[in-house]
Symmetry: D2
Subunit: 419 residues, 4 copies
């Protein structure tokens, strides 16, 4: 057992840290202020494109790409999940960092789908510009009318009609669909309700602007719209796309979705860990810098214990995600099935709780936009629902845990006493 | 011991419940939608004034007033705190209800201050129109630059200069200051830093529009601005008011603040209990109405246990607040000092947690404005800071608990064993 | 709403408090030490009988009896459940107090059964000496071989055979069966498996010494045997008793059991609240009396917050039990069904956690017999299982909470947004 | 980062697992039953010596020894802390396993002390027979009269008098002192109260039987005495030993104690993780094997979620301890200072909570000796106090966390908004 990061991971970690310190931190507050002051904040401010160009130039770009594809294509840096994890943590500390390094969701997940399942034509048309940071994308899966945590509830449809696929339905929480550069969405819908439950759905590329595709509204999340990318509610009303837009073939949606989840969860969780680290730092700085009743806030009541517990919770969460990333790298998604649910059930709640502590240490100011905490909190809170609510993931962990046991056989039972 | 509510409390409780069911519930969603659709939502929509007029006509008005004043003046309904508590709970279920019954903070607290400490002239000028629901007010206490949970940190000043008082400083979280009808604020500031720590501060009435008074901005709380009343950041730059605007006399600010807190905490807490009840109802309805994995959501995982724990937590919180209200009525604020902190440390966190459960049962929709839950959550969360953070209240409870014990005397010590 | 205790409750409360202070506290430690030093601690030390005689003489006796019976018979003090609750709390503070006032479980529950359902002969033979404190009894319900939280799992049988009832089966956690004065048990078993699920069981009086009745062993609870009464495992091997020993008639066991639970839960919970209060006192005394790192222990880390939370938790638990007692008195067991489960799900866990805090404040000494905390802890922990595990009670609370809602009707659903 | 265990660790792990399965599991229940049935259970049953002989023969012996010493001396297996951790976990599953492999506390810690600081003569006389499993030892540090979590409170003394050291004082929780083979204790006491606080104490070897040394009593822990080793209260009344019995020199006690803690904490924590794993297995078996209300217990209420959370908590705890062991191996005790406190603050509480769940799944039986759970619970609970209460360790974590920050400088303060 060796907890030393690999050479490539260490090297890029320090490059990313430097870039953030030199290029992102100095401009971030100004960027946010400017964006908020706009009447229409659904825009890409020039500073973002400048930062992206710089990052790309320095080879700090597309780290998230699957190692094999990265090595074969020359895109990215050839990193495994466990190599990339510490970089994702760093990016999670700053709202704009993932985009700057072209490592932002859901484009990362969409790119992975196209890497693994996209046709050559799809890769040329959509993957290349995604990896170049020229376009953005969204993923349309969750539906407002059903409990989407159970995929079999999905009601939207993607049906073959001659050379076209006809897409119908209503989706929401389509993150990224508000971005001015968003050029396509990956839609998931029902193709054949009679097929095996894992062969009913298809994934289809729908270009923005296709007739019948409408972004109905951008959804507020605790009052935040997360401009300029946001979370949309979209309707598909007899949207027709060529059947070449189907990814991997009709009926393979579920399979693709499964494969898409593993690395995405690692990324989400590591970014949240970064966010929690930053929140803890901000909380401690504030708690050291302000006093009440003659003591710095950190020394009042149970604050030191809460800070200690936050430190421990972050460390434990990080180790769990690192271990899961390593499992994913070495044993594949099926070898990490329970762990991929474990991190999802643990990390957002941990981050929520650490950020909550930081808010509490900030007093009422922590509730406002003067600090990144309120936004961080709602982000962490959302992730207790997005990509499956905590409860569903706990259910997966329990199912796997119980699998080796047999019902009705109380082997540790009462005989011991009676022997 | 008798848990039956008094006749007057029961009677008005059912009148208020009826009014809410008939007049408020049918229009509430439309009201919120309309308000949100406005370019400038800092307005009083006509429906509010209509509802207020109806409520006043039916004598459902100013319930919050101290019993003795109510009986003497004919305002309100002559209710004790324990009588009023169940009504406040009902009002807490609906965002607009407190205003409709003229029982909304911070006007209630300001009115109480004027009832107990206001001069006749102050009462005529400010209290009468407040009780008539014609004007609104704000309370300016918390400051952005210091940890305001320790009142001795307060830096803003109110200094006598001839026949005038000169007010300087910066305040924030001045709730209500954004309301179009807001006509005055009660400002609290430092008058004599050399006086006894409980005689340093003064409360001064500052009319909106006095030169030097500026609302710098309305503060977002997790992205919400709570229009049309909101929470403001205000500056006082050599604001001059006649010394007649001082309440009760210079140096009495702390004394007034103490007296203002008791009933206000009961109100806040009871409204939060109402909010938690409504959130639980909404959560159960959603959880019964939607299914996943072949079962209604309520029957999945630990949801039933969480619902049971929410029920218990609400009941325990309600009993604690009722008991505190009764103590306040029968033993005064000093006889309920620990309890007034106990409810503040318990109820907002309880409400936050019940609303969180309801959000989780709603899935991602619970994060949006489609349901009142996101707004309810941020309201409850805010109240873990407003009027003293949880930690300060726990500190008060501990101080009172430890008071009867003496340090250094380990009476239950080791002698027992050695005897 | 009036939280003032009734005159009778106040009066007896102060008499009981005096008696405990003057008679019980001074001898308790010595009693426990003596008992522990014996080779055979399954004895009644003379001091117990002396204390009982004194208490009875002073009319401090049998408070637990149902008010109507008490008034009719002259036994006890004519107290309602809410009257008695504060007395039970006081008794809970001292291991031997319940027995001294003849208010100890399970005799109280057994006496209630005989009061409500016993024949005249049964009352004469068993109830009278119980109320006189001359004999003790046990209750045989839980079985080792099945999950007894589901009464329909019960396997032991009570079958009519001519003029006799034949009892077979194995029971455990028969509290009190080790007491030297234990003269009978009330056995519950299956009579007619074909009957309605609430009419299958019977309760039967089985005198100690009846052939076929064997106490197999006294069970340790975390290493404690709770001498001299204890918790036994007993077997019934073709035990024959006259059919007159059936209580209320064959098939009425379930009905009796239901009726037996209400007051018993109030008693258990109030005693635990007393135990928690005492533990908190001991913990604070120790934490004030010992220092580390230059401060009394109470001022280290989060101890003051934990003490504050313990205070609040005790207060909330007490209010919940008082309210439940009042409901039971005024609305009967069916009007308090949810609440009777609520207190059972809340109070033992609360007591466990307060006692745990007190142990932690005592350091390693808290784990030993030098303080009453280790014993108190195991008592509270046991009650999270005895009389139904927490989880079963939460299930009851949830069932009642959900009853008014209908499945499949998502009334608060999505229409709001689309209207 | 590579989570694969080293070859040596894997190899011995599977050997130890086999030995436990073949040799220990089959005899354990019988061993415990036999021991409990004895009038005097403070004995070594022959099976223990047989098992020890077999384990030693197979080279499964003294794994705990520091790697360098192990390699130099030929004792043990040359394992680092991270290599040994998984073996300690396996041993923790069975009460008698640590002794069988000669890896039981406090002998392991005492042996380490002698390895690092013992003179040649001390090693020959005490270390050799310890490593041969011929004798046992105890460690006398904690004192009943003071809060021992603060070492400066220590009152017992070790003072030089000519060629002898005179030892005085009272110690308790001297684990192992009841073992029939216990031949010496390591005593820690105050030598020079005027010296630097880290140079005041000394460690002295006191052979059992030295005049003035008395085991006053064996302490119950929640009613358990943990025979045959137990936890003693001992007095030292002018105990005289040759000054050669001082370890490393007078005044070096604190330094030795510090060094002794690191590996010991890893061992304790890993054993607790093993205990928690076993408890979870037992709980699941019981919960699958018994049914209530028509379902296996695991499927009732929130049990599956609790099982999932237990799985996650165990995994997170294990990763934290492994990482700490690796830090200790690669960066030394000072490089793992915070982590060594983190694991101590987390693991016993985690184990307590998992065992509590297993007890709850067992019903009342879980409280008895029929299952190893009650004993496991009290063991885990004790470790929340032994070797420093949780609160002290959280304090250490907080101190280290806050060290890089400066008081009074609110760098993340309000300027951001005003810029």
């Amino acid at each position: 057992m060796d907890f030393t990061p690999s050479a490539i991971s260490s090297e890029y970690r320090s490059k990313v840290a430097d870039f953030i310190a030199k290029e992102i931190e100095p401009v971030e507050a100004d960027y946010l202020r400017t964006l908020r002051s706009l009447d229409d904040p659904w825009v890409v401010l020039p500073v973002i494109e400048e930062l992206k160009a710089k990052a790309r130039e320095q080879g700090l770009w597309n780290f998230f790409l699957p190692k094999a594809f990265s090595e074969a294509s020359g895109h990215g840096a050839g990193m495994s999940n466990v190599d990339y994890a510490p970089l994702a943590e760093l990016m999670g500390r700053h709202f704009i960092a993932p985009e700057v390094f072209n490592c932002n969701a859901p484009d990362t997940g969409n790119a992975e789908v196209l890497v693994h399942y996209g046709s050559e034509a799809q890769q040329r048309q959509w993957l290349e510009p995604l990896l170049a940071g020229e376009i953005r994308s969204a993923f349309c899966m969750t539906e407002p009318e059903v409990a989407s945590s159970d995929a079999t509830n999905m009601a939207a449809t993607a049906v073959l009609d001659g050379d076209e696929v006809v897409v119908n339905g209503r989706k929401w929480f389509s993150t990224g669909v508000g971005h001015p550069n968003c050029e396509f969405v990956i839609f998931m819908g029902l193709t054949d309700p009679e097929a095996h439950r894992h062969a009913r759905h298809s994934m289809v590329i729908v270009p923005i602007g296709t007739p019948g595709f409408t972004v109905e509204r951008m959804l507020p999340v605790f009052g935040f719209h997360d401009e300029p990318f946001g979370h949309g509610e979209v309707t598909f009303d007899n949207v027709r796309v060529p059947k070449e837009n189907v990814i991997a073939g009709l009926g393979r949606g579920f399979e693709i979705a499964q494969g898409r989840l593993g690395p995405g969860r690692i990324h989400h969780c590591m970014r949240l860990i970064g966010l929690a680290e930053r929140a803890l730092e901000l909380g401690i700085e504030r708690g050291m810098g302000r006093s009440a009743f003659g003591k710095p806030l950190v020394n009042l009541g149970g604050n030191r214990e809460r800070i200690a517990r936050a430190r421990i919770a972050i460390n434990q969460a990080r180790l769990l995600v690192h271990h899961t990333a390593w499992l994913l790298d070495t044993h594949g998604a099926f070898g990490a099935l329970s762990e991929l649910s474990q991190i999802k059930a643990v990390v957002p709640a941990m981050a929520e709780s650490v950020i909550d502590l930081a808010i509490q240490l900030h007093g009422a100011g922590g509730l406002t936009d003067d600090f990144p905490l309120a936004g961080a909190f709602t982000g962490a809170r959302s992730l207790r629902l997005v990509d499956g609510p905590d409860e569903v993931h706990l259910g997966v962990v329990a199912r796997i845990e119980l699998a080796p046991y047999k019902q009705g056989a109380d082997h540790n039972g009462h005989h011991e006493r009676q022997a």
